[in-house]
């Protein structure tokens, strides 16, 4: 069973994304945290297969967090969430080791689906 972790401090967006994922992929487990420390704890305890990572987090930069997670758990897929669809952001996400790059205001759901399936072929 695929576990997905959402790391996002904005409650409204976080819950909307979770609902959307739950509705779309009933077979996966979606968990959510609001800051970096909780994220690291969750990773250690639940070992998710995929993480949606916001850049702006309280006290920590999501990109740096991504780099750290990738160093310790290279098998976890990480998708960066951002407000800005700018090449600088894309380049930064790539440099820090993220697997995907999603712009919050224009979520491409087919890409999300493809990503989930690539990680967990069992998902519908």
């Amino acid at each position: 069973m695929l576990r997905v972790l959402i790391v996002e401090d904005n409650r409204i967006f976080r819950e909307a994304l979770k609902k959307r994922l739950d509705d779309h992929f009933p077979s996966i487990v979606v968990e959510e945290v609001s800051n970096g420390d909780e994220a690291l704890q969750k990773i250690n305890s639940a070992s998710p297969g995929l993480i949606f990572m916001d850049i702006r987090l309280p006290g920590v930069n999501g990109l740096h967090l991504t780099k750290e997670i990738k160093k310790n758990f290279p098998g976890i897929g990480i998708a960066i969430l951002t407000d800005y669809d700018l090449p600088e952001y894309r380049e930064a996400a790539r440099q820090f080791g993220a697997d995907r790059f999603f712009v919050k205001s224009s979520f491409k759901w087919d890409e999300v689906e493809a990503l989930v399936r690539s990680i967990s072929p069992a998902a519908p």
Partner: protein, 753 residues
Amino acid sequence: MKIRTQFIITMLLFGIVLAIIAASAIITNQQREKVSEQEKIASSIAQGAGELSYLANDYLIYRESHQFSRWQSRFSSFSNQVASLHGDKPEQQVLVRNIQANTLRLKEIFDSVVSATKNSSQYQNDAPHLASFQVSWSRMAVQSQGLVSDASRLSRLLHVQSGQLTETRTMLMYVMVVFFGTFLLANYMLTYRRILKSIMRLQAGAAVIGSGNLDFVIEEKKNDEIGDLSRAFNQMTINLKAVTASKADLETEVIHRKQAEEDLGRQREWLRVTLSSIGDAVIASDTEGRITFLNSVAVTLTGWQSEEALGQPIQSVFRIINQKTHKPAENLVERVLREKRVVALANDTALVNRDGREISIEDSAAPIKDSAGNAFGVILVFHDVTEKWRAQMELREAHGRAVWLARFPDENPNPVLRASGDGSVLYCNPASSERRGWTCEVGQLLQNELLPLVGRAMTEREEVQQDVELGGRSYFVSVTPFPGEGYANIYGRDTTERKRADDALRQRTFELQQLTETLEQRVRERTVELAKANETLRQLSVRLLSAQEEERRRIAGEIHDTLGACLSAIKFKVESVFQGITKTPSAPIESLGAIIPVIQEGVEECRRIQMDLRPSMLDDLGLLPTLSWFCRRFQTIYSGIRVDHEVTIEESEVPVSLKIVIYRVTQEAMNNSAKHSKANSLRLSLLKTDGRINFMVEDNGQGFDLEKALGSENTNRGLGLTNMRERIELSGGCFEIESAKGKGTIVRAWWPI
């Protein structure tokens, strides 16, 4: 006279008399024997003379030589006998001399006869010869006859003498016997009369005393041994009488004794109370050093209770040490018993009590003696001298302090004197006698400079102070009078140095005043400048406020025009969807889909405004991506200007605080250039060289009059330049702008890292 002495004297007398008598008898006997021997010699001489006569006749008749030699030998023995003869009495001596003379003559005659005989042998029977022979022969006969008669007479005389001596000897024997008898009689009389009678008298007296009459006194007549015995006997009687007291005496004695015991008890109680009440501690011990008594003060000082201490060795209760060395002090009891006299304790002695506390004490120990003077114990008397010592110490300290205080004026480096009312010196300290101009000695008059001051102070009865020049130095002299005591104290203080310092100070003050005036002038000038600068600052502040207001107005306008319009459009569209749903339920899906681009536009606008205010990219990604993004965006907005940018610094080398400064300066410089320069090429560079960050924005525009722009700061452009400068300088950097009409503009800034 003692009997022994009497006896010795008697024996001595008897012995002497007896020895005299015996010696007389012996001498008499010897004389008698000698006389009888002489008598024998005399009779033998008489006989010898006859023989010689006979032998001579033989020779004359026969004229043979052997007859001659016989005569010769007989004569020699005869002459020997004559030689050994001697007389004691005058008559005897005359006879002896006659015999000796006759003997010599006999020899002569015989010799003449012999020689005549020899001559006549040739003329035998000669007549003349015969005649001479007859003559010689008759002479010889005469001589012989004389010798015989003399010798016989001497023999008779000696015989008579011998008889007399024998009689004397016999009489002496009688005398000795009689004397011995007399002595025995006299000795008996003495012993009987003197000794036996005295003893009998003593015996009778002893019998009387023995019968119980102790009052009897034996007569003591003589001063001999018996007398001594009688006296001893009498003394014995007296002693016996004293010993054998009567019953009544004994009862009285018992009463007396009880009385004495009660007295003794009272005395002992009194002694105990006395010893307990005295202020000194008292400890008594026996000769073994074991405690027999200690009073209450001793209990307090030693910390031992009386009943615990009794019987203890004195060293364990009365533990004393030398306070300085902390070694145990010598055992006093032993020393007292050894020296048999009072011993005082050494100084610095401390008692260590039962709790281990040390108490300074003074002490003496004395032997306790009985009436015979034998020590049967030791008594220790001591008291706490801690307070005394402390008092002594305080006294010593007080004395030391007094001495110390007395030195006070001597230690004063300034002159201190005391002078009597008439101005003669009573005291001067060493400083005053050492200083020049102050030469003064006790008993002399004060120097002229000081004399009137003393006079004035004494008259006015109050302190006089005055500056006085002495020995080339300045002194501040104060004279304090004590009119009641009749003297005044003079205190001088050397003020030469201070005066010099005062002069220097005055000079400095004058200089300072001048300096102050100059400074005040400058302050006035600066104040004018400051007021001017203040005015400028106020204007700047006003412009800053209006610029801020302008910025707010712009943002509000933008939000109103874009976001507000978007949200209003969305609202209309959603309302029409709701209306549509009620009329035709199939339509809404498409209508709702049409809303999404509007929302998307609103989101984009929102993001743009946000990026204008402060690009979140600066915080998310850093300065370099942000500059890159800004240039790209600038390029899209101002497509007529070609933008180059060169960055040779690493993101991590830019201090975080500088990032917003560099971004804002870039924004300001490039926007200025775009708005005012009409340039078609612009170059941004951010380089790291020589340990500093170099920033530059350069355009090829028309440039501007720098003086004018900065001088008239009421334009927005001037404000922008000022903003840049302030931002850069506040962040520790330097700012430089280079521009001239038609020559483009270069904005430079650099920060040390």
